[in-house]
C-alpha cells in the first residue's frame, strides 16, 4: 500500500523517515500546534515551496536542465490570480479564469524556453534564462498600470478563503513548542505549562485555504514521485547522464525535455496561484526576483537534487531558517552582548551574513543534499551491520567447532 502510494521510492533512511513523518504531522496539524500568525505563514510557505521545489527538481535534479526562469512561472501564476480577481471580482470563477490564463501563458513561454534550450546549451542556457527572467521582471515592473509595478497587487480573495469567514468557532489547539519550552526550562511547572499550552484557534477561511494548499502539495508531490519512478522518469535520468547516448538509443530527447520544462512550469504556475491566494498580496519582489530563484535553487540542492524528498526537507529547513534566524541572532546578541566589530556581526540586522554563511556551509557539508547524505549514512550503517553480523556469525561458528 505505502509502496504503491510512494511509487516504491521509499525514504531509505530511518532518520529521514522519522523526519518526514514529523513534517507530515506538523503540516497536517500545524494550525493547531503552533499559535501565531508568523507560524501560520511559515507553514503555508513551506507547502508552496514544496510544490515549487519538487517541480524544479524534476527539471534540475532529474533532467539537468538548469533554468533561472522558474520564478517567471511562479510570478505568472501569482499575477494571473491577482489580475483575475482584480478584473472579475472576488469569486471562484475569477480565480479559475486567472489560473487558466496563467497556465496557458506559462505553457506557451515554457515551450519557447524548451525550444531555446535546443539551440543554446548548458551554462549558456542557464545564464540566458537568468537574463530572460530579469527582462520579464522589468516588463512586469514597467507595466505598473496593470501590475502595480513594484508596489504589487492586493489579492481580494473570496470571502470563504478570507479571515472573516468562520466555518467553525473556537477550536482548541495545543501549543507544542510552548509546552516543550516549559518542559525543558521549568519542569516543576509542568502542570501549569500543560494547561497554558492550550489555546483557541481562529478557524477561518484562511485556515481552509491552508488546508487546500496542504492537500495540493501532497497530491502534486505524490504525482511527481510516481512520475520520476516511471519509465518516463528513467528516460529523464538517461538524458541527464548522457543526452547524446539517449538519442542514440532512440529516445527523442527533445520531446522529453520540452515535456519536462512545460510540466514543471505548469506546476510552478499553479503553486504561484496558490501562493497569491494564501498570501493575498503579490509583487515582483516576492514572485519574480532573482533572489527568490536562488532560494529555490538552494532548497533544491540543500534538500538533495534528484531526490524528491529533498524538496520537502529543503523547503522546511530553508523557510524556517529564513523566518526565525533573525530571532535567534537577536537572542544571541542580547545574551552575549559584546560591542565593536564582533558585536555588530551578531546584530540581528546582519542576519543575512549568517544566512549567507549557512548557505555556503550547507553546500559544502551536504554535497549530495541532506537527503542524499542521510541515505549515504544509512547505507554505510547497513554495510557495517552486515559486516558485524558476518563476523559475529563466524566467531560463533568458531566457538562451536
Amino acid at each position: 500500500m505505502l509502496q504503491s502510494i510512494l511509487s516504491g521510492d521509499l525514504p531509505r533512511s530511518r532518520v529521514l523517515s522519522v523526519a518526514l513523518i514529523a513534517i507530515l504531522i506538523a503540516l497536517a496539524l500545524g494550525p493547531f500546534l503552533f499559535p501565531g500568525t508568523r507560524a501560520f505563514a511559515t507553514l503555508g510557505m513551506i507547502c508552496v515551496f514544496i510544490i515549487v521545489v519538487a517541480a524544479y527538481d524534476l527539471m534540475l535534479g532529474y533532467t539537468h536542465i538548469v533554468s533561472f526562469a522558474h520564478t517567471m512561472f511562479f510570478g505568472i501564476g501569482a499575477y494571473g490570480v491577482a489580475l483575475g480577481i482584480g478584473h472579475f471580482g472576488s469569486g471562484f470563477g475569477a480565480i479559475f479564469i486567472g489560473i487558466l490564463g496563467a497556465l496557458l501563458l506559462s505553457a506557451a513561454l515554457a515551450l519557447l524556453l524548451g525550444l531555446l534550450s535546443l539551440r543554446v546549451k548548458a551554462i549558456f542556457f542557464a545564464l540566458v534564462t537568468l537574463a530572460v527572467a530579469f527582462a520579464f521582471l522589468s516588463v512586469v515592473t514597467q507595466m505598473y498600470h496593470i501590475t502595480g509595478g513594484e508596489d504589487g497587487l492586493r489579492v481580494r480573495v473570496p470571502r470563504e478563503l478570507g479571515p472573516a469567514f468562520r466555518p467553525l468557532d473556537s477550536v482548541t489547539g495545543f501549543d507544542l513548542f510552548g509546552f516543550l519550552g516549559v518542559l525543558f526550562t521549568q519542569p516543576w511547572n509542568l502542570v501549569d505549562g500543560f494547561r497554558d499550552a492550550f489555546f483557541t484557534v481562529r478557524f477561518t477561511g484562511r485556515t481552509l485555504m491552508y488546508y487546500a494548499l496542504f492537500l495540493f502539495a501532497g497530491v502534486i508531490f505524490l504525482f511527481l514521485l510516481r512520475l520520476v519512478n516511471s519509465p518516463f522518469g528513467r528516460v529523464l535520468q538517461a538524458i541527464r547522464e548522457n543526452e547524446f547516448r539517449a538519442q542514440a538509443l532512440g529516445y527523442r530527447t527533445v520531446l522529453y525535455r520540452t515535456a519536462v520544462v512545460i510540466l514543471s512550469a505548469l506546476l510552478t504556475t499553479f503553486a504561484g496561484a496558490l501562493f497569491a491566494l494564501f498570501n493575498r498580496y503579490v509583487n515582483p519582489e516576492n514572485t519574480l526576483n532573482f533572489e527568490l530563484m536562488i532560494f529555490i535553487l538552494l532548497m533544491c540542492v540543500l534538500g538533495g537534487m534528484g531526490t524528491l524528498y529533498g524538496a520537502i526537507i529543503g523547503a522546511v529547513v530553508f523557510v524556517v531558517a529564513q523566518n526565525y534566524l533573525q530571532d535567534v541572532l537577536g537572542a544571541l546578541s542580547e545574551a552575549v552582548n559584546v560591542g565593536g566589530f564582533v558585536g555588530s556581526l551578531i546584530e540581528p540586522s546582519h542576519w543575512l551574513l549568517w544566512f549567507g554563511l549557512l548557505f555556503v556551509a550547507s553546500v559544502y557539508f551536504f554535497p549530495s543534499g541532506i537527503v542524499g547524505q542521510l541515505r549515504i549514512w544509512a547505507r554505510r550503517r547497513e554495510v557495517q551491520q552486515a559486516v558485524a553480523e558476518r563476523q559475529a556469525e563466524s566467531s560463533a561458528r568458531e566457538r562451536l567447532t
Binding site: Q142, G149, Y281, E285, N286, S349, L352
Partner: protein
C-alpha cells in the same frame, strides 16, 4: 497596561539605513515628548521593532504578528512605499492604527483605509512645494522622473502647481527606475528647452528621483548652462546632498534639512542628535521624531486611551510640534501637512555632517518658508 508601538520597517538590506534613522528619531522623539520618562498619561511606553527585510510578504506577517500577538496599538510602518502599501489592509483587518512612512500618494489615496495615518509628506507635497518655490510666469520646466506611479504622480502634481503659478511644463521625461546612464535623456531634455521662446524667467530641468543614482549630476556634466538651463530639485538625504556640491545656486524645496527650521523642538533634536551620535540628523531621523510627537500628542489628546476609535478621533485634525515645524493632520484623508522650505544650494565644506569624515557638500540655505496656504495639496482618497 502599557502603550505598545511596533516599528515594522527594514533594518537589513538595501534601505536599512532609512529604517535605522527612523528608529533613532522615534526614540529621540519619545524621549523629548515624555521628558525622558517614557510614559504617556502615566502609561508605560513600549517600543517594539521588527525587520521586514524589505519583503512585503514578511512585512504583512510582521504587522499581523504585531497586532495579534504583541497586541500593539499602533504600527509605525516602513519608508518603502511598496511594502507600506502591502501592509495597509492588515490595519483594516485588525482594526488598529497604522502609520506608514512611504511617500506614495496612494497610501492616503486609492489604497487608504480609515486606520491609516501618515505623518510623513506625500509625493505631491514634495512636488507642489518645488513648483511653488520657482514657479512664476515666464518659467519653462522640463521634468525627469522615474517611470512608475511615484514619478508620474509627482510630475502630475508638479505640473498642476506649476501651471497654477503661471509657469510652463515643456517636456516630461520618464526613465526606468534603475537607470544609471542619463546621456540620452539629457540630450532630449536639452532639445526640448534649447531655443524655446517665452522663457524669460528661466529654463529649468526638474528631477524627481528616488534612490541613489540621481540624474542631476550627469546632466550637470553635460553643461546645461550652455543653453541657459538651470537645474532644480527637492531636498535629499545628507549623503546625496554631498553630491549637490556640483550645483551651486540650485533652488528647490525640501521638507527638512536640520539647519532650516527654526523652532525649539528642532533645536533640542539637533543638539541631542549631535550629542548621542556625533553627526547631523538626517531626513528620516526627523521623520521618526515627528512620528513620535504625533503619537504622544494623540494619546494625550485622547486622555490616555489607546482604544482605536478614541485614537482615530484624536488623530483627526491633530496639531502637533515637530522638528519640521508645526504639523496638522487632515481629517479627510489622514494626511499630515507641514510647511516646506525653499532653499538655495551653497557649496561648503562640512565636518559636522558625518562622524567620520569631512565633505564638500551642497548645503541648503533658506530662501523662504512655503506656508501651508501656499500649497494646494489635493485630497485623493475620495
Amino acid at each position: 497596561d502599557s502603550i505598545r508601538v511596533a516599528h515594522v520597517s527594514q533594518f537589513s538590506g538595501p534601505l536599512a539605513a532609512y529604517g535605522e534613522q527612523l528608529n533613532v528619531g522615534l526614540r529621540l522623539g519619545f524621549e523629548y515628548a515624555t521628558d525622558g520618562t517614557m510614559q504617556i498619561q502615566g502609561r508605560d511606553l513600549e517600543l517594539l521593532r521588527k525587520d521586514t527585510q524589505n519583503d512585503p510578504a514578511r512585512a504583512r506577517a510582521l504587522a499581523e504578528e504585531a497586532y495579534a500577538e504583541d497586541d500593539a496599538h499602533i504600527v509605525v510602518g516602513t519608508v518603502a512605499s511598496g511594502v507600506a502599501l502591502a501592509m495597509l489592509p492588515i490595519a483594516e483587518e485588525y482594526e488598529r492604527i497604522m502609520m506608514p512612512e512611504g511617500v506614495a500618494d496612494a497610501i492616503t489615496g486609492a489604497e487608504w483605509n480609515r486606520y491609516i495615518f501618515r505623518v510623513g509628506r506625500n509625493s505631491s507635497q514634495d512636488a507642489i512645494s518645488n513648483a511653488v518655490a520657482i514657479g512664476q510666469p515666464g518659467v519653462c520646466v522640463s521634468t525627469i522622473a522615474q517611470d512608475y506611479a511615484f514619478g508620474r504622480d509627482g510630475v502630475a502634481a508638479y505640473r498642476q502647481a506649476m501651471e497654477a503659478e503661471g509657469g510652463e511644463i515643456v517636456h516630461e521625461e520618464y526613465l526606468p527606475t534603475d537607470a544609471t546612464d542619463f546621456t540620452a535623456a539629457a540630450q532630449r531634455l536639452f532639445n526640448s528647452l534649447e531655443g524655446r521662446e517665452g522663457c524669460e524667467e528661466g529654463k529649468y530641468i526638474f528631477s524627481i528621483w528616488a534612490g541613489a543614482a540621481n540624474p542631476l549630476g550627469r546632466i550637470q556634466d553635460l553643461q546645461p548652462e550652455r543653453y541657459g538651463i538651470q537645474l532644480t530639485s527637492g531636498g535629499n538625504i545628507l549623503p546625496a546632498l554631498v553630491n549637490y556640491a556640483d550645483f551651486p545656486g540650485m533652488q528647490g524645496a525640501t521638507f527638512y534639512y536640520y539647519e532650516l527650521p527654526d523652532n525649539e523642538v528642532n533645536d533640542w533634536f539637533v543638539e541631542q542628535h549631535f550629542e548621542q551620535h556625533n553627526e547631523a540628523p538626517d531626513f528620516f531621523t526627523a521623520q521618526g521624531f515627528a512620528q513620535a510627537m504625533a503619537i504622544t500628542a494623540a494619546i494625550e489628546k485622547s486622555g490616555g486611551s489607546t482604544d482605536v476609535e478614541d485614537l482615530i478621533d484624536a488623530l483627526r485634525g491633530l496639531d502637533f510640534e515637530t522638528p519640521k515645524g508645526r504639523m496638522h493632520i487632515r481629517a479627510e484623508d489622514h494626511q499630515a501637512l507641514q510647511a516646506m522650505y525653499h532653499f538655495e544650494n551653497v557649496v561648503e565644506e562640512r565636518s559636522d555632517w558625518f562622524s567620520d569624515r569631512t565633505v564638500t557638500a551642497g548645503v541648503p540655505h533658506l530662501r523662504g518658508v512655503i506656508d501651508l496656504e501656499d500649497m494646494d495639496i489635493p485630497i485623493l482618497n475620495q
